[in-house]
Amino acid sequence: MTPFEVMDCALLTRMSGLPPAFNLRELRERIAVCGENVLFHHFCETTLRGTFDNPDYRNDFAVWSKLYLGDRVLAERLGILDPYAYPSLGELRAATLEVIDERLGELTMIPWARAGDEFFFMEATTVVFDTGIRISHSRELAASIGAMTAGSVYFHFLEARRRPPIGKDDFTAWLIENHDGGKNGPYIEALSRIDFYFHSLPDLRKELATRLSGLEAAK
């Protein structure tokens, strides 16, 4: 098998340069024009950022709608958007705007946030580096993932879906590439069954390691 190269990454967050949004209409206007990196940050990079993994919603727009606009209907509709289910960030943006437009059409007053509670648009640079660690067989995957940093888990299981092959995590891509006469099938199947978007990174690491080690134990 070609060894799996374990990478690690760190996130450096910065202000996007967009003015903050004080109300839902401003949020809509900024989402319509923001860079894809901004959209990706608020939907996907939230897991790698130093804030509490909000147990209700995974993306920042839903959290803001609930906490600061006080609009739980909008929060629920935004909160269920799974960015990894869309083939591109452009389509994710369109879906997000559709949800907001629908809500704006239902409301008689535009919900607004108090001063200090604005939505701040951020983006981030992901710095990736080689850890020097290699995984040479699928049976080592569970233990290796269990010992990875949150950055490695994020890079290989979540961020990977942005890179070719689009929509696939690095572990699955490696297992397919090194099919090993079909012996990797159960691993690929186990990885595909994880509903990962609503996990925090420590929980995701645990689930990945548990599912894969369960296969080893069953042998």
């Binding site: 450096l12 010992a147 990875m148």
Partner: protein, 412 residues
């Protein structure tokens, strides 16, 4: 005393340290200078005290320099500091001249180091003017604002903005604290050192010594708020909340902090708190000296619930410290407290003494919630607010700035 990185392995794990060493290899030999205005006292000095030696341990040629000035200079920079945080202060053109001249005097001493550095971190406004004066600088200069400048007193910001906008980048603790500037503005939240006097594990004997020193009853719940005697920390509101709870539950309250001796406003607040406390033997108002780290540590560990009922707050590191001790926190719904306290998970956010009393009563009836939230809070801090994360973000920032990285994802 310098703590080696290896000492943190038992707390954060080997993988986190390996990640830092990997970063260190990429930055080996890079010359970094941190400049601030005091060697001891205050949060910035506390950060630089651990960050500089840890950077050196990772292979970075890091040093920490402190600017000097006469008392008048520091009065002016204190006024600038307050002005940036929104207070109406008077700073004359003569004062700004003293500010600039003092920076110039310091540059004479620091020039060789600053000119040769690959990266210079200037902390807060006191030494910010050095950049304008250091015209033969070779490296990148970054301004680190440790305070909330989102709503500054405009005349002060108008004078300081032309100085800081010349920097190559700036750093803020939260997006909410920033001002629009024509360069990259990075977000790096602060952190706590789990091995410092305020946070290290204490022996049962050390904790019991503090309990008996202040006459706290081990059989009754204890509410603790650690903070300066400052109106924005709402200590009188905490006493009000305590009184509402006291009617139904035999709780004790500790309000402990410093900052009243040299601060006229602090003295007035302390007097108000004493008056509110009256002669209730279960309210302990403790004016502690600045080096009471073990006492603060023990009080947080003795607490049943930590309070931080601020009406205005920066990041709120006392919340982080309380959470690290495995306690739920009832905090004001402001500033960085919101990043840390999540209702029903790590504590409760409140807006009024009534809200605080309600949540205290709820928790006192649900010991299982206290235990669960405390455990969640500690793990949350472990993942996000220990110095290893803080150091990693500085190292990342150094790489991104030195290599002038513009891409969203970059392999190094």
């Amino acid at each position: 005393m310098t703590t080696p990185l290896a000492a943190y392995e038992g707390i954060v794990g080997a993988t986190v340290l390996r990640q830092l060493h990997n970063f260190g290899k990429k930055l080996s030999g890079v010359r970094v200078v941190h400049v601030n205005s005091t060697r001891e006292g205050g949060g910035v000095a506390e950060i630089l005290e651990w960050m500089t030696p840890l950077m050196v341990e990772l292979g970075v040629k890091a040093s920490w320099e402190v600017i000097h000035g006469n008392p008048r200079f520091f009065e002016i920079t204190k006024a600038i500091h307050n002005g940036l945080q929104g207070y109406n202060v008077g700073i004359s053109s003569k004062d700004w001249k003293i500010y600039e001249d003092t920076n110039e005097e310091n540059l004479a001493r620091l020039r060789p180091l600053l000119e040769e550095a690959d990266l210079v971190f200037i902390h807060d406004p006191q030494p910010a003017h050095l950049l304008r004066l250091c015209d033969r600088r070779k490296g990148k200069w970054i301004w680190r604002a440790h305070i909330d400048i989102s709503r500054p007193f405009r005349p002060v910001w108008k004078s300081l903005r032309p100085i800081v906008e010349r920097y190559d980048a700036s750093i803020f603790s939260m997006g909410e604290f920033a001002q629009p500037l024509p360069h990259p503005q990075f977000i790096v939240p602060p952190s706590i050192d789990p091995l410092s006097g305020k946070n290290r594990d204490l022996s049962p004997a050390e904790i019991e010594a503090v309990r008996s020193e202040f006459g706290l009853d081990p059989s009754r719940p204890l509410l603790v708020q650690i903070s300066r005697f400052d109106r924005f920390k709402d200590p009188v509101g905490v006493v009000e909340a305590y009184r509402m709870v006291r009617k139904v539950s035999p709780v004790q309250l500790v309000l402990a902090g410093g900052g009243a001796t040299d601060d006229p406003e602090g003295k007035a607040v302390l007097e108000d708190v004493m008056e509110a406390a009256g002669n209730d033997p279960d309210i302990h108002v403790l004016l502690l000296p600045p080096d009471s780290h073990t006492t603060v540590n023990a009080l947080q560990r003795l607490a049943t619930i930590i309070l931080q009922k601020s009406t205005r707050e920066g990041f709120g590191l006392t919340v982080t410290e309380g959470m690290w001790k495995g306690k739920p926190v009832i905090g004001g719904d402001v500033g960085g407290i919101r990043l840390q306290v999540v209702n029903h998970h790590t504590g409760f956010l409140v807006n009024t003494p009534e809200g605080a009393a309600h949540r205290i009563r709820y928790l006192l009836h649900h010991q299982d919630s206290i235990d669960r939230m405390g455990a969640t809070a500690r793990e949350f801090v472990r993942e996000n607010f220990l110095l290893t994360r803080h150091l990693r973000e500085y190292l990342t920032l150094m790489l991104v700035t030195l290599r002038d990285i513009k891409a969203n994802v970059v392999n190094v």
